[in-house]
Symmetry: C2
Subunit: 473 residues, 2 copies
């Protein structure tokens, strides 16, 4: 591993020089090498150190991406795809240098097929852009990871978020991608049919491959009709266990809940303080139901009964858009509200996901660990999926606190793995979680490496991410 | 291609002799080489010729499968995984001989996690077995391809069926598989968490790989709560176009229909004749709705209104189990009812899938083609997904009819591809559809081959299926 890692951080200076010179000639100011712009294209969101690329190419077409990939392959120079840079695990860092391909100018919605409930977009379109574009069609794209991420980036990291319990993740909602592969060819991974049994599932292979197999330059996505009616509300519970029991029963009863988010007591305190609200400061579930007029009333009432069975309530729900927007704004502000608990601190994000039968136990043990480690770390979670985030607020000048925080995160990830869970429900591996891959997948990682080696034999596509490639003997 | 195909049908006689001798010694009567049993383990369901394996091993454990795979790898002898043999495209044939691994004795349900709505099973458990096992839990496994297929086989071919419009296909409902890989190691592709962003999606790679990357020896599957209420019924339409328009609007309105099946006029005539029914002999939709008591009434009423808008109806629906069972029995008998249209004929199955906006056009053109070609070929379809089956009834003694039928199927597949569809929505490629792979996937097939080569460098796993491997230079 040490050998491989060092091989992957070795810079190919002469190759980089040749490629940057050529790109400057070919593309003029669409190829940038200034320090500020390069650093903006390295990692900037969490405490993982920034590793800037050698240059940034602002791509406008698939053909251009093919040209740049071919040139980089010829000179063995890394390619790092870049959307908006909202990833949390160092995906856009350039540990061995290379060219960042910024897709933000590939931001056109190419086609909306209303009858088929799908659309084809360029990778730089963000989820908010897309929903804005769709506003008059009665359709929407549900995946909402919080940040206004690019759809290319969301596909690359297999993102999800608050709506996944109802609508699935990027895994379920990408019908196909067009990708420039490491040999410079562009491939579209599937037809526009809803399902297919024709050969290996290249779409699902590219979704979650974090730029290590190719550069996504187009996506066909599933869309959904905006529901006729929406209801939602907040429900307090006496304990995290009680809230999790209500979650399990809600899922078991088949209530097609659209969102079901847990905020723990500290998280609720932070929301109240941040937004001058007066929610109960005990563990709460934030819920949303989509359906017909009658359906959303029925769902909310059924949930209220379930909550009551576990000592929760009152379940204060509403159908009015204004009331619902207020509560979801509070939930979406949770990250900033958390930061405000400790001004000046930097966040360390986590996103374990476990079978929901283990969720209460996992969160309770984690809350105890937070207390024992002496950290400030509110919890919010997409609990319908068994996925939760602990946001560890660190004083970056206190090395011992950083060390204790990292120890805590390591224990958290190991706890999730021991409960048949994963170290990442939705953020991806990047650089930050590479050490958990073998623990989570065992021999599976060898087959992933074999696939990477077969498709990208020169290891030019986002090297140093997900897993280390073995050095050649 | 010609070279590769012949390389893949070349038999390794000395290897086969060594392996069969060793297996007979090791496993006694659990390894069989009688002609009848070998032929039963080749293809038997459609007009594709039977190619029997050299021996059949009745596996009982993953460890045994590992042992047999290692032995076969050592001697370069093909392995052909076998469930119940209900596949339709020659998947279980042994074009270059080899060992059939029959998983029918690996038929235990290992674990049901009621709180997590999942279960872990051995690959030989059939879907009916599983639902029988689950009958007291309030849970069910929805995927229903018609045949009582093995779950291992259903995963291998990415099967689906009547419920996919609501519950998805095997792609969405397999949480992980355990597979014996070509090097003899057993890998479990994912944890039991509902979602994960940890590395390449090996689960989705194995689902639909048709035994060419490994032998599935275990699966963890999603389960669903049996709905509180079910309603369903049959609705006639003046034309296939009108029925398809109603389908599109139903999907667009977000009605969470659980089943939506089209039977064309000839299909309805065959059902009536076969089961002494008196349904209208015009194109009909068979529908089922799952939900709460109020929800299934609301859904049925909403559909009835939509049908009316397109000249369909009356929509005769019911909540009583007895009435619903009668109609679904009729729908499930469609295959036999079709055969009864032409006693003595053999069936040629097809399963194109197109975007639903193109479905009416595709079916209408196909009906015209059937008439012009002079074939007897009723149509049934999982139209909510854009997937339909033409069952061509052929007189196997009439070579010109077989030729005309094959010409028709080729045109049908090309028509679907031209409409952004796939040649196979749910049956898989096997041997029967290999010629469409390059047309459907273009350069994508090269990356599939690269993956196959990386994971199965000796090409021992179900060779001669999905795509031909290039002969080595």
């Amino acid at each position: 591993m040490a050998v491989a890692a060092s091989a992957e951080t070795q810079r190919n200076e002469s190759g980089v020089e040749a490629v940057t010179a050529r790109l400057a000639t070919l593309f003029g100011e669409r190829f940038q090498t200034g320090q500020a712009i390069r650093e903006q294209h390295g990692h900037t969101t969490t405490y993982i150190p920034n590793q800037a690329p050698d240059g940034v190419f602002f791509a406008e077409t698939t053909l251009e991406v093919q040209e740049v990939v071919r040139l980089s392959a010829e000179h063995r120079v890394p390619i790092i795809p870049f959307g908006v840079g909202s990833s949390l695990e160092g995906h856009v860092n350039a540990p061995s240098g290379g060219i960042s391909i910024d897709t933000s100018r590939m931001n056109r919605v190419l086609q909306v097929n209303q009858d088929d409930l799908d659309c084809t977009v360029e990778p730089g379109v963000t989820r908010e852009d897309l929903n804005h574009y769709l506003r008059d069609t009665g359709l929407f794209f549900p995946i909402d990871p919080g940040a206004n991420a690019s759809l290319g980036g969301m596909a690359a990291t297999r993102a999800s978020g608050t709506n996944a319990v109802r609508y699935g993740t990027m895994r379920e909602n990408v019908l196909s991608v067009t990708a420039v592969m490491p040999d410079g060819r562009a491939v579209t991974t599937a037809r526009r049919a809803r399902k297919s049994s024709a050969g290996y599932d290249l779409t699902r292979l590219m979704v979650g491959s974090e730029g290590t197999l190719g550069v996504i330059t187009g996506l066909t996505l599933r869309l959904y009709g905006i529901p006729q009616a929406i209801s939602g509300g907040v429900c307090p519970f006496p304990s995290v266990e009680a809230a999790c029991q209500a979650v399990i029963m809600t899922i078991q009863m088949g209530i097609p809940v659209a969102r079901m988010e847990l905020v723990n007591a500290l998280g609720m305190r932070s929301l109240n303080a941040y937004s001058q609200l007066d929610y109960p400061e005990s563990p709460c579930l934030f819920l949303e139901f989509h359906g017909t007029d009658a359906g959303v009333v029925e769902q909310a009432e059924m949930f209220g009964e379930i909550a009551g069975e576990f000592g929760g309530g009152p379940f204060d729900w509403a159908r009015e858009a204004e009331k619902r927007q207020k509560l979801w704004k509070a939930r979406h502000d949770a990250y900033w509200a958390g930061l405000a608990l400790r001004p000046g601190a930097k966040a360390l994000a986590t996103d374990v996901c476990v079978p929901i039968s283990r969720l209460a136990e996992c969160i309770v043990e984690t809350e105890r660990d937070i207390a024992e480690t002496g950290l400030v770390a509110p919890i919010v979670g997409h609990v319908g999926d068994g996925n939760f985030h602990v946001t560890v607020l660190m004083d970056m000048d206190d090395e011992s606190e950083i060390e204790r925080s990292e120890g805590f995160v390591s224990r958290l990830n190991m706890r999730a793995l021991a409960m048949e869970g994963t170290c990442t429900g939705e953020h991806g591996i990047g650089q930050g979680k590479m050490k958990y891959m073998e623990l989570e997948h065992g021999a599976g990682v060898d087959y992933m490496r074999a696939i990477k080696q077969a498709i990208d034999p020169l290891n030019i596509m986002n090297p140093g991410k997900i897993f280390a490639m073995q050095a050649k003997s």
